[in-house]
């Protein structure tokens, strides 16, 4: 018995150390950029900043946040995220309902049409040419429309509808309720949590998407945050962030500006993260158990 407790204890130690290490590795890159964003410029340039700020200042953050391109981009991202999420959750929730009625003729075929798009797609170029044909290049709709239904998300909602007790709908039908009444008065109100979760999935998708903007948006005034950030990150000398007048640049370095821009882009996500985490985990579990 005694021997086993020692073994168990060393196992515990190994486990705690491993998980601690994973946690530290996760936080390190973020902590490093964060401290560069709020450290004194000379310390940043001379490479003295580790995980703690050296010579705390908020000048660089202020400079980044007040840049007109940053403000424009945040606005564009918000707009795309809000409009996209509202339309996407509405369309997904409504389409999922008829698809949950598997006994209706033709439904399983239509379901197959949806599922097939998860396995096979046209690819980048045909999608680009489609947007061109639709005259959506340099339109924010090109970011919103192609992502309105994620089949995976729809399957999660569909299986949730299917899990609701059938007796509810049947008794409403006996009382003479139409399908629409049942959907809007019974099914959707009962699906609040799952719909909220899927709405968050969409919101995070729209907020983080840089691929579609990279393909379809080249007008600087329409660049969402991720695309703006990409210009700054990929652009080694960071000239696009440095288009302010010379005296503004006196005490900011490209590296500091880059770090501050990354941090400014992370902050909105960090603010809602505790809430996100709770709902996302739930959503993944619904999807995995029933999907």
């Amino acid at each position: 018995m005694h021997k086993k407790t020692i073994r168990d204890r060393s196992l515990d130690l190994l486990i705690y150390l491993f998980l601690l290490l994973v946690g530290v590795i996760t936080l390190l890159p973020i902590a490093n950029v964060l401290s560069k964003a709020v450290s004194d410029e000379s310390a940043v340039i001379s490479g003295k900043v580790g995980i703690l700020p050296v010579g705390f200042q908020l000048q660089t953050m202020k400079y980044v946040i007040s840049s007109s391109q940053f403000i424009t981009s945040i606005g564009i991202s918000m707009l795309v995220m809000i409009v996209g999420t509202v339309l996407a959750i509405a369309l997904t929730a409504l389409t999922a309902y008829p698809l949950s009625k598997r006994n209706l003729p033709g439904i399983s075929f239509i379901m197959l049409l949806f599922i097939f798009t998860m396995l096979f797609n046209g690819g980048i170029i045909p999608n680009y040419l489609l947007m061109k044909e639709l005259h959506l290049i340099n339109s924010l709709w090109s970011l919103i429309l192609p992502a309105l239904i994620s089949v995976f998300n729809m399957l999660v909602i569909k299986s949730y509808y299917e899990s609701l007790p059938e007796s509810l709908e049947e008794s409403a039908k006996i009382d003479g309720a139409s399908n629409f009444t049942i959907l809007f008065r019974i099914v959707i109100p009962l699906s609040g949590p799952v719909l909220a979760t899927i709405a968050l999935f969409y919101a995070v998708y729209y907020w983080n998407d840089y691929f579609n903007p990279m393909l379809y948006i080249n007008d600087a005034g329409l660049k969402p945050l991720q695309l703006y950030l990409r210009d700054i990150v990929m652009d080694a000398d960071s000239s696009s962030a440095m288009n302010k007048s010379a005296d503004d640049m006196m005490n900011v370095s490209p590296e500091g500006v880059r770090s501050a821009t990354v941090i400014a882009s992370i902050i909105p996500m960090l603010l809602v993260y505790p809430y996100l985490q709770k709902h996302f985990v739930k959503g993944v579990l619904i999807g995995s158990v029933k999907g």
Partner: protein, 321 residues
Amino acid sequence: MSMIRAELEQQTAHMKRKSIHKSRWKLFRNNYDLYLLLIPGLIFLLLFKYAPMYGIIIAFQDFNIFDGFIGSKWVGLGQFAKLIHSDEFYQVFNNTLLISFYKIILLFPVPIIIALFLNEVRRAVFKKTIQTIIFLPHFLSWVIISGLFMNILSPSGGLVNHVIEWLGGTPISFFLDNHFFRSVVVFTAGWKESGWNAIIFIAAIAGIEQEQYEAASIDGAGRIRQMINITLPGILPTIILIFILRLGYLLEAGTEQILTMYNSVVYSSGDVIGTFVYRQGLGQQDYSFSTAVGLFNSVVGLILIVSGNELSKKLIKRSIW
């Protein structure tokens, strides 16, 4: 007698069929509003999913934007012949497979280990804190993650190179060195998703019956034995299912990720099918050739995932659809 019975059976079968037919029509008519509800979704599906599939025909053409889909010259499998004879494609295909294999071999076990270990943690606060931290990177975009790692791996003043110098080494330009670029791609992919991917295994572990552990500990099995003999076999079907699913994405080595990280210096190690399609198509405007490459990619992906699903049905009686 037997003839009459046969005749009767035929009759009733016919009537049954007729009534099924009739009731199907009735079902359709009584629920026409549900079908109306499908219309917006179907329009979306046709326009944004199936129309691009129609666009694939340009892979068999020498497409140019002025002649359009109908007027462009047909070249049959010409683009695919070009693909087979292109050295660049071999390079790209090779990179794709290598990065994908590294990602699978090195990263697939990590979430399983994390889940197994988290399950052993009894201190709720520690468990919760670690989970909150390791789920976070999933919510960051690739652009942000590239920014984070370009900073920490920078050859001039990056934290990692500081440590390398301190240990007596010379600084490494991780993003500009063909020896290291793939490692950066694999590591950052693990950094982003390992924690998050553990969720599904955490859920699977939660589904294992507690009695099994109780019985085992009465039998004197220690925690390591329990982990290996109960927990691991308990989540094995989930592991196999996720692994098969993962194999289906073999040719998707991380296009969106690499597009935020690479540059012309590391094309020879980091250019993958997806990034190649993007560059050839939208950079060089070689629409037909890049669509052909993309089609090759999609078809192989489709075959992989369908056969993976069949395999999973046979092996563990579970399927993805």
